[in-house]
């Protein structure tokens, strides 16, 4: 087979690939992940790259203009190598990829600030077993158990039928010298030890032990692949949750899954997403998925129910009850996860229908559960989950913000991907906007941070009043009455990627106000309910992908975040997967997450009398009570 050299502008080294390799595959070989939301069918146009020189064959060029093609642009998934090739990856693609998650990371150390003793439950042990004879006809399994008792003091380990089926041949193949992989729960655990795998010893080499931490987000699924001995994270991969095609938020997914005939569909989709990610991570690190012996899973309660195909109906019906918060351990075979079939799947504990394992994991990894000072931890997404407390106490609540902050339920809303307006500035005199678009091209819509930014600017420029009404007396063509309502034009049709105006309507603004009011009311009511004034909160920790990219100043200006000094806010990124990673590597951490789940007091906001009042007071920009937002008040007067 003829080999060709393919080099990428952002790749460290050229790679050698045979004729017919797609550019996506070649890029993967070079450690560069090119996104393919459409699954490599040449439909979405997201994998566009530029051929600087070399010979390729293009299978399909849908989504590309003749001019683009002439310039050398092509779809990486539809282009195969037929000679030496130089490829450059457009800068917008690089930016965009960072937004979803750090997909380019090849090897990541233990996250900074989180160095601690690795004390995890997966152990490997070499066993030398006295071979049987006519004088000792003890059966293989008893023989193996005898060795395990002597070596690691394990008495009656669990074992799957399929491993029992292998014992006889492995013992003999290894000439009674074997390596065992065992899950050994902590001493106080009620859980039994489990013999996961058994290998004949052929070489002196120790068998590698891998584990993965998984966060199932409503929008994005993240997998970290870690060496269980060193704790080092060798791959971090993320992808959109394929369930999105059946609903943007948990409520619509629950409704979809409850319809007759839809059983198992969402489970299948999220499993496909996770397994694709595991496969991708394994290929990058050059290991086999069977070498992963444990997976620790975080996610909100709905995501975890759907993963296990447990009906989630009662999560959305009053009084909002999950079927299960503390899952027993399962094997990967039972769950359908593509790691070692007898590998342990540890699903982290949830607290309530809307305070899931993502929050208990986040409460642990954010440090709120061990701090001395009053701390607010929030994970802002479709739902805002909020935790308030210190090492001595923790209260939590969830407020349904709606999907506006994720760009859904808004006329020109979209997810934070290429073409989304992510930041807006408005001239206080001309009311003309200045926008920044993800990927740098023509805008297609507004994502969460763009909406937030736009609302703050419209308010401070006086286009929108404190009630969210659009001032129709301004001298600008951008304010107009649309089909149904008043609206502000953010981008004219000729400036957009789809040749249609991009607008924000009065209804959109109402949605945003309700979303931010729900979150503001959430943490203020939570604070009041335990008699801790908001002023006494000394740090605000913000988790979740959304929290990673919002502009604090603007979030305060619209009254989403409390008016506190900049240094009060800490953006922690994906606290959920980080918590899962902790739980994977240290069973003391795992135990603490359990303790956190138990000691978190859940407060149901819809049952709190003061919530509605707090919510309605927060339906203004930034708030009815301006005294709560002194720095914003200053900007308004100034």
């Amino acid at each position: 087979m003829k080999m060709h050299t393919v080099s990428f502008d952002i790749g460290k080294k050229p790679v050698e690939v045979p004729t017919g390799t797609t550019l996506v595959e070649a890029a993967k070989e070079a450690g560069i992940e090119i996104q393919q939301p459409c699954g490599g069918q040449g439909r979405c146009g997201r994998c566009v790259v530029k051929i600087e020189k070399g010979t390729t064959r293009i299978r399909s060029a849908l989504n590309l203009s003749a001019e683009d093609i002439q310039k050398g642009y092509t779809l990486a998934c539809q282009t195969v190598v037929e000679g030496d090739v130089s490829v450059s990856i457009p800068p917008q693609e690089k930016i965009q990829r960072r937004l979803v998650s750090d997909l380019t990371a090849k090897k990541v150390s233990v996250p900074e600030g989180y160095n601690y003793t690795i004390h995890q439950t997966i152990q490997r042990i070499r066993l030398t077993i006295p071979p049987p004879s006519m004088d000792d006809q003890t059966d293989d399994w008893a023989r193996l158990k005898r060795a395990l008792r002597q070596e690691v003091n394990i008495d009656e380990p669990q074992i799957s039928l399929s491993l029992i089926q292998e014992i006889g041949s492995v013992l003999r193949e290894g000439d009674w010298q074997v390596s065992a992989v065992i899950n050994v729960p902590s001493q106080n655990s009620q859980e039994q030890a489990r013999l996961i795998a058994l290998y004949p010893i052929h070489l002196q080499q120790e068998i590698p032990l891998w584990g993965c931490a998984i966060d199932i987000g409503t929008t994005t699924v993240t997998v970290w692949l870690a060496d269980l001995i060193t704790g080092e994270v060798h791959a971090q991969v993320a992808e959109y949750n394929q369930q999105i095609s059946h609903g943007e938020d948990v409520i619509s997914r629950i409704i979809f899954s409850s319809k007759e005939g839809n059983e198992g569909i969402l489970k299948g989709l999220v499993l496909e997403t996770i397994n694709t990610l595991i496969d991708r991570a394994c290929k990058r690190v050059k290991i086999r998925p069977e070498e992963i012996y444990k997976a620790t899973v975080a996610g909100n309660s709905t995501m975890l129910h759907l993963l296990m195909e447990i009906p989630a109906t009662n999560i959305r019906l009053s009084p909002f009850i999950t079927t299960i918060n503390q899952f027993p351990k399962f094997t990967a075979r039972e769950v359908g996860l593509d790691i070692h079939p007898d590998g342990v799947v540890d699903i982290l504990p949830s607290v309530a229908s809307y305070v899931g394992a993502d929050i208990t994991a986040g409460a642990f990894s954010s440090g709120i559960a061990t701090t001395d000072i009053n701390t607010l931890f929030m994970d802002v997404g479709t739902n805002g989950e909020i935790v308030l407390g210190t090492k001595d106490w923790l209260v939590t609540c969830a407020c349904s913000a709606g999907p506006a902050f994720e760009g859904a339920g808004v006329v020109n809303g979209m997810r934070a991907t290429k073409g989304a307006i992510e930041e807006v500035w408005i001239d206080g005199q001309t009311y003309e906007p200045n926008i920044r678009v993800i990927g740098g091209g023509l805008p297609l819509g507004l994502c969460g941070s763009g909406l937030l930014s736009l609302l703050a600017e419209l308010f401070l420029a006086g286009v929108v009043d404190k009630s969210g009404n659009i001032n129709q007396n301004l001298d600008t063509p951008r304010v107009r009455t649309g089909e149904h309502d008043t609206e502000y034009v953010v981008a004219w049709a000729k400036e957009t990627g789809h040749s249609q105006d991009i607008v924000i309507t009065h209804v959109d603004i109402d949605n945003l106000l309700r979303a931010k009011a729900a979150i503001f009311a959430g943490y203020t009511v939570l604070a009041n309910s335990v008699g801790v004034p908001l002023e006494s909160v000394e740090q605000v920790l913000i988790g979740g992908a959304f929290g990673q990219y919002i502009n604090v100043e603007k979030a305060v200006e619209i009254g989403l975040l409390p008016d506190m000094p900049w240094e009060t806010f800490h953006f922690l990124g994906n606290t959920s997967v980080l918590g899962a990673y902790h739980a994977l590597l240290n069973h003391e951490s795992r135990k603490k997450i359990n303790e956190i789940a138990k000691r978190m007091t859940y407060i149901e906001l819809s049952a709190d009398n003061t919530f509605y009042e707090a919510f309605t007071s927060a339906l203004f920009l930034p708030h009815t009570d301006l005294a709560l937002f002194p720095t914003v008040a200053k900007k308004m007067t100034g």
Copy 2:
């Protein structure tokens, strides 16, 4: 003397007999020969007849169920006339079926003499669970566990994923009133409790609990379906093990299963056999298989390995090692058994490659493990498994008898089904045989008991000498030189069902001699190895289907059974399924079977120096040392 009229349905005329005449005698008077393989001792159950009307007195009703007796069935040899009587003789077909097992029994009581406390592990419990509210949003599973803790003091029961998937809807369908089925192991057990099923309470009716005891024989599979609350056996069904098509004995099955491409075939066949039987039993009792929550399984080590698709190769290779003797508990789903998918499958413990769970179960149910007197227990089939001991000690061994006693490996051998010659008498003057055929039609071949009977008769008639050689100088056309060897013609072609001569050859006789010698050597070496002379053995318990139908006298004549008084021998039928039934109904019995498995000392005969000598000395009829068989010696001289 008072005379009574006795009429038989198949007799030409009624006969007149005095009070006290047995039905066998009355039948003879009417020209009807009723079979009595046991010699009229009421032991073999082969002379069963039905009293249509009239007055009789029954001396013994061993071998008959209470229901059978109620229907009028009785043993002709044990029933005496006390008034006018009408008798019907069951069609031969029914008799034949009784040979395989009691397939006609519709409902059988707890086996006589085995009444004991039912103390089994499957419990049903009604739970009333406080419904959730906004003030108590505890998840369903925690709510259910709380109720289980309060009601039955179970802390963290195991639960399958598929049951978790049902919890939410069952709790609500039952309006928070449910019936739970739980497996609660005994307190000292390391095993965890398991929630097997959960039903909404609609009616006041208690849910029924069923269990089954299964014996997987190399030839026959037996299933007893029992009510776990009353202990009553409602159906006993048996069928040939479908694996037979791939080999008559365990060795040929192991070889078949080890060949590439044959994986799983034997598992599939035995599962099909068991599941068909379960289905048949359920239909008879009118229950659904899902109402069976526990199955206790006995069988030899090879059968149990094949059932679980565990490679059995090392069972037949020196030093003869099983993969597993003490199985963990499995769910029916894991095994593939068609009972409730979360039902518990309890596989009884084995001791060694050739002393399986059928023997530990048999050692328990036969009573050898609790007796004060020296007892020999043997299960004669393709392998003869032998246990010697008292309540204080137990030794065991297995000897490979070969399949001759099951009618295989012999020129005209066949299984004990319709058309098999089961008994032979030979005239000492003319050397002409008189045969009895199962089913009464034309003979097709010789089954184990027929071969045994034939050999004894040939020997006592002088056709065969003590070395097993056929005397060719006799004046009879029945002795001749066949294609390969000398042979004796048992039935001429014109008298058989397939129009071919039925013969026994010198090679066949050699096979039979080796089989009986192996068993004789087995129990004598076993006795010697522990210094217990055979003479001190006070009872011989014989289990297994073969043991149910052999003629003791003839078995002693060929030197298979030791020369002891008649009353020393007790035929117990299927001791294996009986042991499984005990284990099903009482966890103390189950524990005792475990203890038996542990305290049985296995003696490997092939490693015993004296075995070969004992074996070769026993290769004669009845034995080299005639002093060991005084009653046979008397017949030879007389």
